[in-house]
Structures are given as structure tokens and as C-alpha cells.
């Protein structure tokens, strides 16, 4: 008999992603509304201590699979570990953050378990007899309501779409011994940019487009920096080689939903709009008053971005004192 919600909380080197807290918080909301319990699952190496933190977000049980083979994310081992926990706990719903790692794990796990899966969910409507989710398709041009059948169901929620909420519980960490072995793949190395806010998790995104005219993004970086946000780019800026692919916002890049999105020198092609239109507040700065971006922005400024962007940076610094 399937029962309970299992929230998989993603960590790297003993530090939880924000998405982990969002998954546990949303898992708690579902568990409460269905009157069932929430188990949080953490996989990694030497993470017992780290895992305790999930009690702050309302986990009723915290299960840890602690194994040197889980030091870094390798989808084979993580799928093995998660599938063994699922087999024992028999959750009806598995929830996690739709990060690169979360998406990868959910996809493989869904095939292992023969389970229905939906990724990048922005809304969950879960009742006793129906599991309905809303997720963007066609790069966010439309939203689809999906019904998932069978047990368990795997839901990956889009980072930033559902908030994390403190909800302290008395959960204690329980160790789970998974049978893992070295598979046909091997983790070799990781290169992480330190001190950089990740686009998809950022609360503020400042993006530059063709109007930047070159690869000097200093004014964009300075504005992002005072707002403690991340720098994004339009596809044309990436195609020009001004910015790395990892900065691209849009249908063939990343989808972002920050509280504040500032588009500088971006005309507003439909593919770009698809990637940022779920931002809470959109500001557009463009010298062309007819740029399509203005009809999708909450606030528009017509003018030279090289004058306006630094002026905004100064104004925010001033306001912060």
C-alpha cells in the first residue's frame, strides 16, 4: 500500500540547494493536505549532520543514504539508492527540485520504477483521488495541466516557483543501508564557479542582449552585483560569442522566474519571452520605443542603456546607503 510523500533533498558537498528546501516544504504541504507523512531523503557521503537541517522544513522522517559511492552525483548510483528507499518506504508521491541533477535523477528513476513523471511543475493540485500538476510546455509559451496515474508519481518542481517555508519538526535522522556498487560510469571531477549566483535560482536577473553591442558586460554585472543577482543574456548575445551558453535565457536556454528581471538591450523575441515571462516583475530598457519587450514589461524605459543602467546602479547604491 503506497503511503506518504518522499522528498528528495539535493545537496552538494554537504550544502543543500535551495531547491531541496522548496521540495521538502512543498512535500510537507502535500502531506498535510492528504493527512499522510513526509519523509525527506538525502543521499551523499558524510551528510548525516547536514540532513538534520531538513527538520526545520517540516520533514516527519529524515532518511539518509550515506555512502562513499554517493560523494558526487552519479545518476546510476543515485538511482540505485533512491529506488531502494522507494521500495522500502512505498511513497505515493516523490517530489524533488527540477535542477539539472533533479531532472536527470527523476528521468532515470521513473523508468526504473515505471512511474509517471512530470518535471518543472509550477503548481501542484493533489487530492486523494487525483494528482494534477501544471507545467510550462513549448518553452513556457503555454501551460499544460497534466494528470498523473499509478504509483508512485514523480514530481520535479521548478526552482523558485514554490517557496520554502520554515515549519520545524522533531524528526531524527535515520540511516538507510543501500546496496550500492561501482557501476559502468565514474565521476571524475567537478568545476564549480564560486561566488556566482546561479541564473535559475537567482532572485534578480539582469540580462543583456544585442543592444550591448559587444562582450563588455561590466555595467550589467555591476547592476546584478548591487542587486545580488545573476547575469543573463539573450540568444543573439550568446550567438555573437559575447556570453557563455550557460547564461542564455529563453526557449533553447534557461527558464528563469526571479522576483525581478531586468532586460537591457533585448528586443523581446518570442523565444526569449518564453524563458522569462514568469518573472514576477519585468523591467525593460531599450532605445527602440517599439521593441516588443515593452509590451511584456511592467516597467519600460526608452533610452540608451549605457547611460541608464549605470544610473540605476548608482541609484540603488544610494538607496541602500
Amino acid at each position: 500500500m503506497a503511503e506518504g510523500v518522499l522528498a528528495i533533498a539535493e545537496q552538494m558537498d554537504g550544502v543543500f540547494k535551495n531547491a531541496a528546501f522548496e521540495a521538502v516544504s512543498e512535500g510537507k504541504r502535500i502531506a498535510q493536505s492528504l493527512g499522510i507523512s513526509l519523509t525527506a531523503l538525502v543521499m551523499g557521503n558524510n551528510i548525516e549532520k547536514t540532513a538534520e537541517k531538513l527538520a526545520e522544513y517540516g520533514a516527519d522522517h529524515i532518511v539518509v543514504v550515506d555512502d562513499p559511492l554517493l560523494q558526487d552525483f552519479l545518476v546510476d548510483q543515485y538511482t540505485d539508492a533512491a529506488a531502494q528507499v522507494v521500495k522500502e518506504k512505498q511513497p505515493e508521491i516523490i517530489i524533488t527540485g527540477a535542477t539539472s541533477i533533479g531532472k536527470d535523477l527523476c528521468a532515470r528513476l521513473s523508468a526504473r520504477l515505471g512511474a509517471a513523471m512530470a518535471t518543472d511543475c509550477v503548481e501542484l493540485h493533489i487530492k486523494k483521488d487525483q494528482c494534477k500538476v501544471t507545467r510550462p510546455i513549448y518553452g513556457g509559451k503555454v501551460l499544460a495541466d497534466l494528470v498523473l496515474e499509478g504509483f508512485p508519481k514523480i514530481l520535479a518542481i521548478r526552482p523558485n516557483a514554490m517557496g520554502a517555508a520554515l515549519n520545524p519538526s522533531e524528526a531524527v535522522v535515520e540511516k538507510f543501508e543501500a546496496q550500492l556498487q561501482e557501476g559502468n560510469s565514474k565521476f571524475l571531477d567537478k568545476t564549480m564557479e564560486t561566488g556566482k549566483t546561479e541564473l535559475t535560482e537567482a532572485d534578480v536577473v539582469v540580462s543583456g542582449g544585442r543592444g550591448m553591442g559587444g562582450n563588455d558586460y561590466t555595467i550589467i554585472e555591476e547592476l546584478a552585483s548591487v542587486l545580488e543577482g545573476a547575469v543573463g543574456a539573450s540568444r543573439s548575445a550568446v550567438d555573437e560569442g559575447w556570453r557563455p551558453h550557460s547564461d542564455q535565457v529563453g526557449q533553447t536556454g534557461k527558464t528563469v522566474s526571479p522576483s525581478l528581471y531586468i532586460a537591457c538591450g533585448i528586443s523581446g523575441a518570442i523565444q526569449h519571452l518564453a524563458g522569462m515571462s514568469s518573472s514576477k516583475v519585468i523591467v525593460a530598457i531599450n532605445k527602440d520605443p517599439d521593441a516588443p519587450i515593452f509590451s511584456h514589461a511592467d516597467y519600460g524605459i526608452v533610452g540608451d542603456l549605457f547611460e541608464i543602467v549605470p544610473a540605476i546602479t548608482r541609484e540603488i547604491k544610494k538607496a541602500k546607503g
Partner: protein, 255 residues
């Protein structure tokens, strides 16, 4: 593995049934991430030899997408076209593709990391799971030697380097390569290349094996319309900046 999808510049309309999109007037293309996959396959063939087979689950119209990949330089195509598979969700699609691949000999399978229509990121890894082979997703760089593939894959804020023993599957991320344009001679040659069209029965699957789809779209809607924006006026950049910051603070309350 490729999929035929609406071009990303397409305006998407909602059909009368409220749960599918209007397909008239759409320009259809090979999913952009699958183009990276085809391109990388061609480059691997150039370096290591072998044959590049393009596989898709689709309809009569998917022939065009496969011909495009053949025109890029792939050697042969396989299309699974069966009305019983028409309503497949991503998991059922992966099942069909995996069963087809089981009838072939292969060293490496490449897929786009996602299709730009349903954006589910599921098919590639699920095919690898059904085949019992390792996979590496969101790859921006790969190198093959001594029966192993070594890949760089993207994650938020960085890259991982992962190695897998062949046969393996990887999914292509933007940044892997720049797909070549199809040339006129390429298109002419593609017309003569083998393209097999198979049904579920041909790969030993029945409709009962697939079962009912476990995910089903019940409704499609447009995202909430944004209310008409406000233009910030001012005599100069400083004045406009000050007015914007004031509005963001006091009205929008995001600062």
C-alpha cells in the same frame, strides 16, 4: 534519436479541444537539441568510423525530419510509425525507442537533452535505463577512447566530468557543437539513403505492452497576461533611474 517539433519562433495556439495545440500553419523542424546530437554523431563517425542511424517515433510527417538528419550526413533512418503509439507519453516513447534499439547493434546512443515541445527531459535517460546501459546527460564535450566515453556535463553553476563504459547514452546540451547546414548535394543524397518504417509489431511490442499512458494532458492554457506596462519618463538617465527605483521599491515592492 530525434523528434520533430514546432520551430522555436512559432506562435503556439490552443486547439478547440483545449488540450492540444493548433498544428496548422506551424513550421516543423528537427528538435534543436537533437540537431546537436546528430552533429556530434557525425563528428564521432568522422573520427572513429562507424555508421550513424537516426531513429524517431512519429508519424508520416516525421519522414521529413529524418531526411533532414540524413541530409546532414547520417547513414540511415528508422521511423516507428504506429497509430497505437500515437498517444505515448515520454516513458512509453522511451520504451518504444529502447525496444527498437535492442534489435540493432550499437556502441553509442545520442539524444537531445530535451525536446523543445514538451520539455520533459525524460526520454534519453529512460531509454538508457530500459537498455541497462549508463547515461550522461546535458553534455557539452565528449571524448571517446579505449571503449569509454568521457564527458563534460553542465549543472547549475558549473560542470561535472563523468566517464562511462560503452555502450552508453548521452544527451546533448547547447554548447556541444554548431550543427552544420544541410547542403543541396546532401539533400539529394538523403533521398537515396535507406529509411525503414516500422510498426510496434515489427519491434516485438504490442499495444498491451505499452498500456495506458501514465501522464495525460487534460488542459492547455496561456500563461496569465501581463498587465500593460508603465513607461518610466524623465528628463535624463538619472531622473529615469530614480523614478524606476522608486517604483520598484514602493509599487512593485521587489527592492
Amino acid at each position: 534519436m530525434i523528434k520533430r517539433v514546432p520551430a522555436t519562433e512559432s506562435m503556439i495556439g490552443i486547439a478547440g479541444d483545449g488540450k492540444s495545440i493548433k498544428t496548422e500553419d506551424l513550421k516543423w523542424v528537427v528538435n534543436p537539441y537533437d540537431e546537436f546530437a546528430v552533429e556530434e554523431a557525425l563528428r564521432i563517425k568522422q573520427e572513429h568510423g562507424g555508421t550513424v542511424t537516426v531513429l524517431s517515433l512519429g508519424t508520416d510527417k516525421t519522414v521529413d525530419a529524418i531526411r533532414t538528419a540524413l541530409a546532414m550526413g547520417a547513414d540511415k533512418g528508422i521511423l516507428i510509425n504506429d497509430s497505437a503509439a500515437a498517444n505515448s507519453d515520454s516513458l512509453a516513447t522511451a520504451r518504444v525507442l529502447a525496444e527498437t534499439i535492442k534489435t540493432l547493434s550499437y556502441d553509442l546512443i545520442i539524444a537531445g537533452m530535451r525536446a523543445v515541445d514538451d520539455d520533459n527531459y525524460q526520454v534519453g535517460p529512460a531509454v538508457a535505463e530500459f537498455l541497462g546501459i549508463p547515461h550522461i546527460s546535458m553534455v557539452v564535450k565528449e571524448e571517446i577512447s579505449n571503449g569509454k566515453i568521457r564527458c563534460q556535463k553542465t549543472v547549475e553553476g558549473g560542470t561535472f566530468e563523468v566517464e562511462a563504459a560503452l555502450p552508453a547514452l548521452f544527451t546533448a546540451q547547447r554548447g556541444l557543437n554548431e550543427p552544420r547546414y544541410v547542403s543541396m548535394p546532401g539533400i539529394m543524397k538523403a533521398k537515396k539513403k535507406p529509411l525503414e518504417i516500422k510498426t510496434l509489431a515489427d519491434i516485438g511490442l504490442s499495444i498491451d505492452d505499452l498500456g495506458e499512458p501514465k501522464t495525460r494532458v487534460v488542459n492547455i492554457k496561456f500563461p496569465p497576461e501581463r498587465s500593460a506596462g508603465k513607461m518610466i519618463e524623465g528628463d535624463n538617465a538619472e531622473a529615469k533611474a530614480a523614478a524606476l527605483v522608486k517604483a520598484l521599491k514602493e509599487e512593485a515592492k521587489v527592492l
